[in-house]
């Protein structure tokens, strides 16, 4: 930096932006900082964390045994609450995934360079969250190995095709396309970094495995030209895709005629909620990862603060949607609609869940208006977890309160979860964290090449003739 201001001073000067990479790292320093994590000996805290994740995955396996061996009657779902923790878990995880795509694709299209330190881990989070989400619809079919016949356009024994007018079938296409495109996007981003790991690897096994997945990448600029175009187009494709996925998830509800579900606000409201919960999950993971691996110079306070601002903005949007639901219920003059919101949700048997949701999603994120709280690691860590609890409750409230009291009071009921509901949902955390722990152990959790490209020395018109980040005439400012 030509400027002599320290990061703290820069932070206090609103006309200057914080540099994206602190500590004067050069190109090699960035490689060392990120690739070193993968190459070092297995740290003990990682091993402990991995064991914990594996044990929770064991709970998942046991729950699956029960669900398949006995059947999904083991869940607490009943009449009239036919959808409960299963679909709640599905929407919860799919929503979390959305932040990864937002960071990797939408912020990329908006040229937000600060995304480079968080996009890799956020994309990994997307993929693992989608995998966790898929468990719910897959196993709620009861016999998932037959599910292909009614999920995909494969004719069954009577040669009947699935009904393409059904939102549940749209969901199959949306989620599987989303999962596939997210994996492709993530892998494209990984290849140059896998080549770095291949070239640094000291062991034969590492060279072979990283070598296979690096596809013989040699950093050729003739390749980079196609690569960058592919990356841009994948970002361009992922952006409408991610908006469509949660829109279609919301259609599962909105296309029905149930009061509380049958509303046009659902698509934008679901998308905002998805980004909200996803950013909270990125925060939770990143706060732990940057501390555990000493990545404070790459994942700076500016990154965290920017993410908190997005949490504040989307949390406020979600709060607006909650308010608007009440307004429309009153304004429509529809008795059933009014009943769901003013009686069932606000004061009914699930009022505890409703008010938990409101406090977690609407009240707590508002604390981020204060810079002091927005830049305090303990505060943001706690709020990020609170937000995800709140977002789980949001889906539960939408699903359970609309179902438990429908048009006929004689069919009203209440859903209490059974043990298997809880262990199955808990188990998906095991799946998610096991995969995430493997990711931070064996793959570069920060996009090495992309971080180098935002260093001042990466500018081909920077004739400072040093690659140290310090002393170029350009700044790594986004």
């Amino acid at each position: 930096m030509t400027t002599t201001l320290s990061p703290q001073e820069l932070e206090n000067d609103p006309s200057k932006r914080m540099p994206l990479v602190l500590g004067g790292k050069d190109f090699h320093g960035v490689t060392e900082a990120v690739a070193g994590i993968v190459e070092r000996k297995m740290p003990v805290p990682w091993a402990l964390g991995f064991l914990l994740a594996l044990s929770v995955l064991g709970i998942f396996g046991a729950s699956l045994g029960d669900l398949i061996g006995i059947g999904i009657g083991e869940w607490g779902n009943n009449q009239p609450v036919g959808w409960a923790w299963d679909i709640t878990g599905f929407v919860f995880w799919i929503g979390i995934g959305h932040a990864g795509t937002l960071i990797s694709a939408i912020l990329f299209l908006f040229r937000q360079k600060w995304r480079t330190s968080i996009n890799r881990a956020a994309e990994a989070m997307t993929i693992f969250a989608v995998l966790a989400a898929l468990q719910f619809p897959l196993f709620h079919t009861g016999r998932p190995w037959f599910a292909a016949y009614w999920l995909l356009p494969i004719p069954n024994q009577m040669n009947i095709w699935p009904n393409f007018r059904s939102p549940l079938l749209w969901d199959v296409f949306a989620v599987s396309t989303y999962g596939t495109v997210s994996i492709l996007f993530w892998f494209v981003g990984l290849v140059p970094d896998l080549a770095t790991l291949r070239d640094r690897s000291k062991t034969r096994l590492g060279q072979i495995i990283y070598g296979i997945f690096a596809l013989g990448w040699r950093g050729s600029h003739r390749h980079w030209v196609n690569y960058e175009r592919a990356y841009l187009m994948l970002a361009g494709l992922s952006t409408p895709l991610v908006l469509s996925v949660h829109t279609i998830v919301s259609f599962d509800f909105a296309v029905s005629i149930l009061p509380g579900w049958h509303t046009t606000i659902f698509p934008p409201y679901f998308v905002a909620g998805a980004i909200f919960s996803g950013f909270a999950m990125v925060m939770t993971l990143m706060i732990v990862a940057r501390k555990a691996y000493g990545l404070e110079h790459l994942l700076t306070m500016r990154h965290l603060e920017n993410m908190n601002k997005i949490i504040l903005a989307t949390g406020t949007l979600v709060g607006y949607a909650y308010g608007m639901e009440f307004f429309i219920a009153w304004y429509s003059g529809n008795d059933y609609e009014s009943y769901v919101f003013f009686v069932s949700r606000a004061t009914g048997p699930y009022a505890w869940a409703y008010w938990t949701m409101i406090s977690c999603n609407v009240l707590f994120p508002q604390l981020f208006w204060f810079k002091k709280l927005r830049t305090s690691i303990p505060v943001m860590f706690v709020i990020s977890i609170i937000v995800n609890i709140g977002m789980w409750f949001e889906r539960f409230v939408i699903i359970a309160t609309s179902l438990h009291r429908d048009f006929l009071p004689s069919s009203w009921g209440y859903m209490t979860p059974r043990l298997i509901d809880i262990t199955f949902f808990l188990g998906t955390f095991g799946l998610f964290f096991t995969l995430f722990m493997l990711f931070v152990r064996f793959l570069p959790m920060i996009a090495i090449g992309e971080v180098k490209a935002v260093l001042p020395a990466a500018d081909p018109h920077n004739h400072g003739h040093d690659s140290s980040g310090q002393g170029g005439k350009h700044h790594a400012h986004a």
Binding site: W170, Y227, A230
Partner: protein, 181 residues
Amino acid sequence: MPTHETGKPFALVGYFDTPAQLYHACEKLRDAGYKKFDCHAPFAVHGLERAMGVGPSRLPWIVLAMGIVGFTAAITMQWWMLAVDYPMNISGKQLFPIPPYVPITFELTVLLSAFGCFFGMWGLNLLPMYFHPVMQHPSFHRATDDKFFVAVECKDPNYNAERTRRLLEEDGAQELLEVES
């Protein structure tokens, strides 16, 4: 100074410390009429393709074609399955309505475009590739770390072992070696 005793020389390979030096060297190679040369860098050096005289990627055409295939396939599939092969009357709704067919058509268009993007990119780059001659340069492992390589192929009509070497050295190229094919 070939790295091996036998075999035909493939290219003169060396590296620079900064993207700026590489950029400048590429401009000179381009202006001197070189066509068969390549750069190898740990990240996409911004605008280097202009300095090298490389045109834009042809990838968008592949993606467009695949997108059209996805769109057409989705419409055809839904129409054929539900309106032709096994017409089913569900709640008396039309057999070929447009709005409910939009989501799947959209998703398949995106999916096929993404496949075009992914496989098209590797195809255009001729990857995966097991071996490439430039990898024989003893420092080539730093092309994915912190050095900015240039490789001028001996097949280029302008190539002259001495002249090309001098041109690159003027900009600070180091460890210039001829690698074999």
